[in-house]
Symmetry: C2
Subunit: 354 residues, 2 copies
């Protein structure tokens, strides 16, 4: 079935009229209407677990901006939360787990969550949102990469050096593989459920793959993302849904990532998008890669930098404009408007027929 | 003049009998004898500014381990401190400046510190230390890269997103260049002074170059390190002193860094050292790149990982064993001993004549 969504076409490297755009954390703290809901509802996980609220937040940026995709409002840590680790968010401190996973017994005790009874709230939010927008905007489902999710499960929180999980990696790699395997099984079912609920594309966020040794990335992060991709590509109900893989600080691995069968690679701003395009050839589309800090600048500089990303990607389809990482809470939404206007006005010339 | 130091020979890619080793932050908090001095003397900068104490701390790891180089105990922020910004360290919070540099006036007001009256304490520490060890161990002097030092001067402290300095970069690049130019002038004189005081090699730490956009790194970080290298390479008194450049997360730029005229490139663990060697060819030596977290593992795993780095570099000179970043305070010094013993026992076979 051919999609008419510009975002989906670009993911499949089919011709488009202009470069599609969405951006990571587009439904988030930089929006006053988001902060208003958050103040009313309270905790972050409370918002994620309420499908009506999650839907409402997902739609907020679409009301302000002409975006080519929505991404379901949720978190990469819903799976370990559903495994019973007790997730909560302290203000300005990021996620904390009540229980960590550090021993063989801990790993063996982890259940694979049930996608209905444990994580049905996510599918339900996807269903509600897809129903609202499917006539005009595609919806992205997502999960964290098994390695990235495992870092939080083992460390118990955000980490600077990842010493505890890396100690496991170097001292007991079999145990880490067992943990990753379990997260992978759950993640594959989770993305499958989101697609069945109406997600038009899915993305795997590997926020911490870049913290690994070069060869460890190829053993402990990429193969598990590969396994999720393979799972989805071999099921009739999910095989046509494009998958985006994003490893922050993963610029060295583009050729490897491109071989997984994903439709697109997300790249951060430390990668030159022109070089990235020539490295991956026609295998995949590219999503990125404006430095979010550009959005702190004045309009004229934002225009220059947005054009520079488009110029460097160059002519032809296969580019989804995005930030290189999530938008930060300090950004003025007016500056986002400048970014999007620039893309809409400047990018059509890259897609005109020669 | 030929040096007989294994470390200096390896920097010049001359034959050695075994792979030399030293490691970043080898004089630091993981050592109980360091913590004892720190408790007695008090503040971190107080220790840096007392040449006898700085010398004593520099020598501590040499007394425990068979190391091939010492690095002077100091900090990359001595220059902005000497420019009058008021540096202090809060426990567990890293550096803070009393005054930041954000406007044209701020940059213009910055003095180039006098290497004797303002920074003489560093040269004096180098002189004392070199005098103590020059018959058996070479001494490394160092500074921060202009970009990295500038991040602290503009942000006022450690930063996650670098939004303030990146706002300057995108909104007023001329102002940032003026600041970088000033830091560069001071840094070149500073390394020159350290060499004249007895440093046998110097290293430039670009801890935050990896946070830049790909093309921004080539405009705002590398050219200023290049300028320091050029300054040192054109002065008779400093031209033979090997220079090591280290950009954390700089794996994408090895070919560019290798062209600067530096003797060696420091690499972190996200780079495969075998690939790095084939990328830089015979232009430079490589220093690195064990993940510091390996030192949290048990001895048998440390041995395996240390051997793996040596194996991947392979036969021949041009490798200085190091960690990919500074050792963390949680490491047991006994594990460092395991690392060093492994290098001493295992590496000679890579250097035997064929």
């Amino acid at each position: 079935m051919q999609s008419s969504f510009r975002f989906i076409k670009a993911l499949k490297r089919q011709p488009v009229d202009c470069t599609p755009v969405w951006f990571m954390r587009q439904a988030g703290r930089y929006l006053p209407e988001y902060r208003a809901i958050r103040e009313k509802v309270g905790g972050f996980m409370g918002m994620c677990k309420n499908p009506e609220i999650a839907c409402q937040i997902t739609l907020q940026p679409l009301k302000r901006f002409s975006l080519d995709a929505a991404i379901i409002f949720s978190d990469i840590l819903t799976i370990p939360d559903a495994m019973g680790l007790g997730l909560h968010f302290k203000t300005n401190e990021g996620p904390h787990f009540e229980r960590t996973v550090r021993t063989k017994q801990d790993v063996e005790n982890l259940p694979i969550p049930d996608m209905q009874s444990d994580l049905g709230y996510v599918s339900e939010a996807v269903r509600l949102t897809a129903h609202e927008i499917q006539h005009h905007t595609p919806l992205i489902g997502f999960c964290g990469s098994p390695w990235t999710v495992a870092t939080y499960m083992v460390e118990g929180k955000s980490s600077k050096h990842f010493s505890t999980i890396k100690n496991m990696l170097y001292s007991d790699p079999k145990l880490l593989h067992a943990l990753l395997k379990k997260i992978t099984t759950a993640s594959a079912l989770y993305l499958e459920a989101q697609i069945q609920a109406g997600a038009n594309a899915v993305m795997i966020f590997d926020s911490w793959g870049g913290a690994l040794e070069y060869n460890s990335y190829l053993q402990f992060s990429l193969p598990y993302m590969q396994e999720i991709v393979t799972h989805l590509k071999t099921k009739p109900s999910t095989k046509d849904t494009p998958i985006i893989l994003f490893t922050k600080n993963g610029g060295q691995y583009l050729e490897h990532i491109a071989q997984t069968g994903c439709a697109a690679i997300g790249i951060d701003w430390t990668v030159d998008i022109a070089q990235a395009r020539s490295r991956v050839g026609h295998l995949v589309a590219l999503q990125g890669n404006l430095d979010p800090c550009v959005l702190t600048a004045n309009p004229e500089n934002i225009v220059r930098e947005v054009k520079s990303v488009l110029d460097r990607y160059g002519k032809g389809s296969g580019h989804i404009f995005n930030l290189g990482h999530g938008i930060t809470p300090d950004i003025n939404p007016d500056n986002v408007q400048v970014m999007i206007d620039t893309i809409k006005q400047y990018s059509p010339s890259f897609h005109s027929k020669e």
